[in-house]
């Protein structure tokens, strides 16, 4: 499903964020990407949706090399990858409903579909009652759940989540993990970057650990480490 070959990322200021990464993620897999702050987790995720370009190497998604993708094909790629951003990227002047609906509107889905899908996915993340709230009226955890809802509303085969529980109390984090598990259960490949030791330890899924841009561990049913 996803394969990275010799991927390196060096930012314009010569920061080496990823070094020679080789990794295969199978279809339907649930994978935790762990590692200290600055180890390259977000960079990894940004490469997969081509928010940034790699400096070296190749990335194959569904057999297709996305590194030489024509720019006109990038939207198609992103429609197949839902992404929960570390900084949520919600639009402040749109309500919860509109923020989620936005993801369907921009890919040209019809209105009736939006009317059905958006409330459904908001129920899934437990935010149905906040339909008409604006992001600034929500707690950080609620905003994060809106971001999950938006990433998943068009049922992409791949879901990337960059620290989706970063601002949540253990109870709510568990709620988010239930959602991601459920999404994974219906066949979606889920890749989640996290610092959250408890979650990783309790889920017992594949764990890939980064340190200073390199993979230092890849464990089938792993724990957070040390």
């Amino acid at each position: 499903m996803i394969e990275l070959k010799n991927i390196s990322k060096i930012y314009e200021d010569n920061t080496v964020a990823l070094k020679n990464i080789n990794l295969v993620i199978k279809k339907g897999e649930f994978l935790f990407l762990v590692g200290p702050s600055g180890s390259g987790k977000s960079t990894f995720i940004k490469l997969l949706i081509k928010e940034i370009d790699e400096s070296n190497g190749n990335i194959y998604i569904a057999g297709r090399n996305i590194c030489n993708l024509k720019s006109s094909r990038i939207p198609q790629l992103r429609r197949n990858i839902g992404c929960v951003f570390q900084d949520y990227k919600l639009l402040p002047n749109k309500t919860v409903f509109e923020n989620v609906a936005f993801a369907l509107e921009v890919i040209g889905r019809p209105g009736y579909e939006i009317e059905i899908q958006v409330p459904q996915v908001l129920k899934l993340v437990g935010l149905y009652s906040k339909l008409n709230s604006y992001p600034h009226q929500l707690s950080a955890g609620e905003q994060q759940r809106v971001s999950v809802a938006r990433a998943f509303v068009n049922r992409p085969p791949i879901l990337l989540a960059d620290e989706p529980t970063g601002n949540l109390d253990p109870g709510t984090s568990e709620g988010i993990m239930k959602i991601l598990s459920r999404i994974n259960l219906i066949g979606t490949t889920v890749l989640m970057a996290t610092h959250d030791r408890n979650i990783v330890n309790s889920m017992r899924r594949r764990v890939v650990e980064l340190e200073e841009g390199e993979i230092v561990r890849d464990q089938k049913r792993g724990v957070y480490g040390d």
Partner: protein, 302 residues
């Protein structure tokens, strides 16, 4: 609870700033297209006047009093044989006097005329008035004297040339002004679009990250630019309508009365005014689209 207020004031400020920019852009387009449209009408009318003057341009060939019938006949045939000749009219001494009397009716000058001092003449209308010099030369011999039987050749050479060059100068100046104004309009619309791209940059970023195509991102801005151009052109049409209705139609009526010219922009039978309005809208819309396209190329990375 500072955030909502901060938020609204920011949005409001950006709207206001954009409104002012948009207003400026629309006004500039309106003024530009108004001038373009009005120039178009004036130029059309000047062209009408020139071509009617052109077709009036004649060569008068005055004959010697004692010219023989044969020579007169010969000269007439000679003139008819030229391809530049549209028509030749013979005016006898008597006809010339008649005309003179009619033109100077009631004037003292008639009392002083004894006999008939006016010469007979050929009045030649040319199909191409710009060849008037060449035709006139045919009445001269190698030494620069008139050919036999011809006393004088008169034509409005300087008059025509001056008219030509004045129109050319006016046209050039108008063209330069119009180009400058069009550029100003493009720059202003470009700026409003740039500002609204800037104001919505976060939205654009999210749109692209969730899979919007470039066209989906661009269309609202293209529409905004088109709207500004279009709105400006509508305003200019309203201005044109009023200036035509209350000023220019009167000018044209005066021209019609004094010069007996029929084909003018407003009073003529051609739909010149409608075409001008249509042209103004098309140009306005295109300017808007073009300006926002340039802004999008520069500020929305593909």
């Amino acid at each position: 609870m500072v955030r909502p207020r901060y938020f609204f004031s920011e949005t409001f400020t950006s709207l206001k700033r954009n409104f002012f920019m948009g207003f400026t852009a629309i006004t500039t387009v309106a003024i530009t297209l108004f001038i373009v449209g009005f120039f178009a009408i004036i130029v059309y009318d000047i062209q009408g006047i020139i071509s009617s003057i052109k077709s009036d341009v004649e060569l008068a060939v005055y004959l010697e009093d004692n010219i023989s019938e044969e020579l007169k006949e010969y000269i007439e045939q000679y003139i008819i044989s030229w391809e530049e000749t549209d028509a030749v009219r013979y005016i006898s001494k008597e006809q010339a006097l008649e005309r003179f009397k009619k033109q100077n009716e009631g004037s003292d000058i008639l009392k002083e005329i004894e006999g008939n001092p006016l010469p007979a003449s050929f009045e030649i209308t040319l199909n191409n008035p710009e060849k008037i010099d060449r035709v006139a030369l045919r009445f001269y011999d190698k030494d620069g004297n008139f050919i036999e039987g011809v006393d004088e050749v008169i034509y409005g050479k300087n008059y025509v040339n001056t008219l030509f060059s004045i129109t050319a100068i006016i046209g050039t100046i108008a063209f330069l002004i119009i180009i400058a104004l069009l550029l100003a309009a493009v720059v202003l619309i470009f700026n409003t679009i740039r500002l609204s791209i800037y104001a919505r940059r976060k939205e654009i970023e999210v749109m692209k990250l969730v899979g919007a195509t470039n066209w989906f991102v661009r269309i609202p801005f293209l529409f905004e630019g088109f709207f500004e151009g279009f709105a400006g052109s509508v305003v200019s049409i309203i201005l044109l309508y009023f200036i035509n209705k209350f000023l220019w139609i009167r000018v044209e009526r005066v021209i019609v009365d004094t010069m007996r010219i029929k084909e003018l922009a407003i009073v003529g039978s051609g739909n010149v005014i409608s075409y001008t309005y249509i042209g103004v809208v098309v140009v306005g819309g295109l300017i808007g689209l073009l300006s926002s396209a340039i802004a999008l190329r520069r500020y929305v990375k593909v």
